[in-house]
């Protein structure tokens, strides 16, 4: 086993850390959020220039063919800045689906930053059960389909040019995936796209669909769509968890620095043993978070059941670590912790978003238990 980074990975990490230093100082981040723009075009251009948009895309369609470990290195570094760009919705959630579809030639445009994607999959009543049947319908219409339904929490939706929409073709047991132009969506219904910020300053949208699309909009048929979605969502989940690890490690630095600077009762508050012990516990949590991330990375290419188990374990451990670190991080800051003017509150909200996206601790505990050896239905083997 070897946990060291390759030279290329070190360069990648350094470039991302430099980006965060230069573009994501607290004031800059606050200005970006206040601007109310669902994406910074300038930043997206930099993502493209730095090769990050090409990173996970196959070489034959204009990408760099990076590994998932490469992606993790990037996400940990970007997590330290709580970046706002919809990198994961585009590159981890959508790109791999496109890659295994007739539309994969579009990936070149994704890699150069000229095309942005979003996955429109969540529906009302899902509560994390993203593998359930879709109420959005695809009915035959002319040579193509009429898509009707409503989608919510479309991450990166407000800045997407095209949507990958999941919908059930009449008579089929599972959903299929359709590639739909944003214009098509917006042209056909008033306020078809309703956008809103999330608490961390990133953006999502609800889609109200009543769209006629041509036959070639169908990019993944129901026989493959659910497994493909499942994999894409697991990989996106893990990428977010890598961000969370970067964010948490940064929280430790922020808090440690604050404890040394802030004075009360005539001394640096870092002299108080009770606060030292809180920081020490946060350290343990952060260490365990990175460890379980590696564990999940080791299984991300494995069979679906092993992959699901590994990602759920990471979601549990990192979710619990996030809660402890972000809550105690605010507590260590006293009143300043609940202002927007100190970075800890930004990490707090980013970590809360990651904790809940694609299944919370509760959801993944249930999923993990379902695959844990020794928690299956009873057998007749002797125990203890």
């Amino acid at each position: 086993m070897d946990f060291s980074l390759s030279d290329e990975q070190v360069l990648l990490r350094d470039s991302a850390e430099r980006f965060v230093r230069e573009e994501y100082k607290l004031d800059a981040r606050r200005r970006l959020v206040a601007a109310g723009d669902p994406i910074s075009a300038e930043h997206w251009r930099q993502y493209a220039e730095l090769g990050w948009l090409a990173l996970p895309i196959p070489e034959d369609v204009g990408g760099l063919g990076g590994s998932f470990v490469d992606l993790m290195v990037l996400m940990v570094a970007l997590g330290s800045g709580c970046v706002l760009e919809p990198y994961i919705p585009n590159l981890v959630l959508c790109a791999p689906i496109l890659d295994r579809s007739p539309a994969r030639s579009l990936l070149g445009a994704v890699a150069d930053g000229s095309l942005r994607l979003a996955l429109a999959h969540d529906e009302a009543g899902d509560r994390f059960n993203l593998a359930g049947p879709r109420t959005t319908q695809a009915t035959a219409a002319g040579d193509g389909f009429l898509l009707t339904g409503a989608k919510t929490l479309v991450l990166g939706g407000p800045s997407a040019d095209r949507f990958i929409v999941s919908a059930t073709i009449t008579g089929e047991p599972a959903c299929s995936l359709f590639l739909v132009h944003r214009d098509q969506v917006e042209d056909q219904v008033e306020q078809a796209l309703s956008r809103y910020p999330l608490i961390d300053g990133t953006w999502a949208a609800d889609l109200s669909l009543s769209v006629e699309v041509s036959a070639d909009a169908l990019i993944v048929r129901s026989d493959r769509a659910t497994a493909l979605l499942d994999e894409a969502i697991d990989r996106a989940t893990l990428a977010y968890l890598a961000e969370a690890v970067g964010s948490m490690e940064t929280c430790l630095e922020i808090c440690s620095a604050y404890l040394k600077i802030r004075k009360q009762f005539g001394q640096a508050i870092g002299k108080f043993q009770a606060l030292q012990h809180i920081l020490a516990e946060m350290f343990v949590e952060a260490q365990e978070a990175r460890s379980i991330l590696y564990q999940a990375l080791s299984q991300i290419g494995a069979d679906a059941s092993l992959r699901r188990r590994a990602v759920s374990a990471a979601k549990i451990v990192i979710g619990q670590a996030s809660q402890i670190i972000s809550r105690q991080g605010v507590q260590l800051h006293g009143g300043y912790g609940v202002t927007d003017e100190y970075p800890i509150s930004h990490h707090f909200k980013r970590l809360m978003v990651i904790e809940k996206l694609f299944g919370d601790i509760e959801h993944h505990t249930t999923r993990f238990a379902g695959t844990a050896p020794g928690l299956q239905a009873p057998d007749s083997s002797p125990a203890a």
Binding site: D122, A124, G125, R127, F128, N129, G132, A150, T152, L153, Y196, P197, L198, I199, D200, G201, A204, D206, K263, Q264, F265, F272, A274, L275, R327, V330, Q331, G334, G335, G337, V338, T339, D340, E341, S345, F348, K349, M352, V353, K356, L357, D360, E362
Partner: protein, 401 residues
Amino acid sequence: MQLEFDAFHQAFREEIRAFVRENLPPEMARRQKQLSFPGNRSDILEWMRILHRRRWSVPNWPVEYGGTNWTPLQHFIFERESQEADAPGLFRGGTHMVGPVIYTFGSEDQKSKFLPAIREGRFSWAQGFSEPGAGSDLSSLRTTALLRGDRYVVNGQKIWTSGAHLSAWGYFLVRTDTDVKPQNGVSLLLIDLATPGITIRQIPQIDGDAHLCEVFLENVEVPAENLVGKEGAGWTYGKFLLDNERTFSSFIYWNIRELRKAKEIAQRETMDGTPLAQLPTFRARLAQAEARVLALEWSVLRVLAQEARPHKLSVIASALKLRGSELQQLITELQVDLLGARSLRFYAPSETEQLQSPDDAFWPDYVPGKTGIALITRAASIYGGSRQVQRNLIAKHAFGL
């Protein structure tokens, strides 16, 4: 021992219920339910006016100043039933903080000038105690008020002054004598916030709101008659004021109400068609929260009924604050967890207040407001003596450590 409300208090409970049922405007209750914290100032002022008509707007005051002479348990019942019905509450800065100081230590002029205004809900008060660099350590106050003729000239800076931007007056702890020990030399001044030299900056918060303020005072001239009581006794008045209600920091009424809302969400939100209230893990979390809220309620009752205890009342107050703030956080986290990914949408405070549809497929009326409250409730274990300070106090005063 007598462990139940007697007939007198049971009748009183019915009286309060009937009053609230008949007098609380439904729109006001709806807004308050959505906001959780008394966010809408005009609702609070209006509700105080309604209460004032019944002579209940300052129930904790002596009868001579328009109060009620209620027993502690009557106060308990009044607060509990009001919050149960989603009434907006009182402007406690006036009714529970500065009001009692004024009628206890203030001059006759101060009484006649300020007490009716508080009683009738004419405006709200801001509290100028904390300063930057002196969060939990009030003895290091640096804002000065130097007497020049018949006026104090005030210079300095206050922070965490909640609602200063919407308040007409503030009560400020200031240093009137810099030559004595830090805890002496502090006085309590009433300051008209419209006085020249005062700048108020709203601090942007984690929840997107900005009601916590910084107040900058630059050569602010305050008439000497606005000094409360004696110069140098501000520390005593400040403690009197903060000590006035030992059980408030338990947030017991708030915790009961927010837990009820959590259960309502658990009935509305489903997983695979089953209400979350029927899922064992959420049921267990809700049930355990309820058992703990019940315990806290009885801890409050023990104080109100003046149970003889081996410990100082201040120690009990610290314990109530610790558990009360812990439950505030636990219950709002539960609300957010019940909402799942829906909790992630940001609602500005102004959006939260708007009428939402109970039937919206994605964003029904119980969604807006919850996450903002959960975020700002992280402060519950910070303000008014942080979790760490409360523990220090218990170790010192209960165990002599």
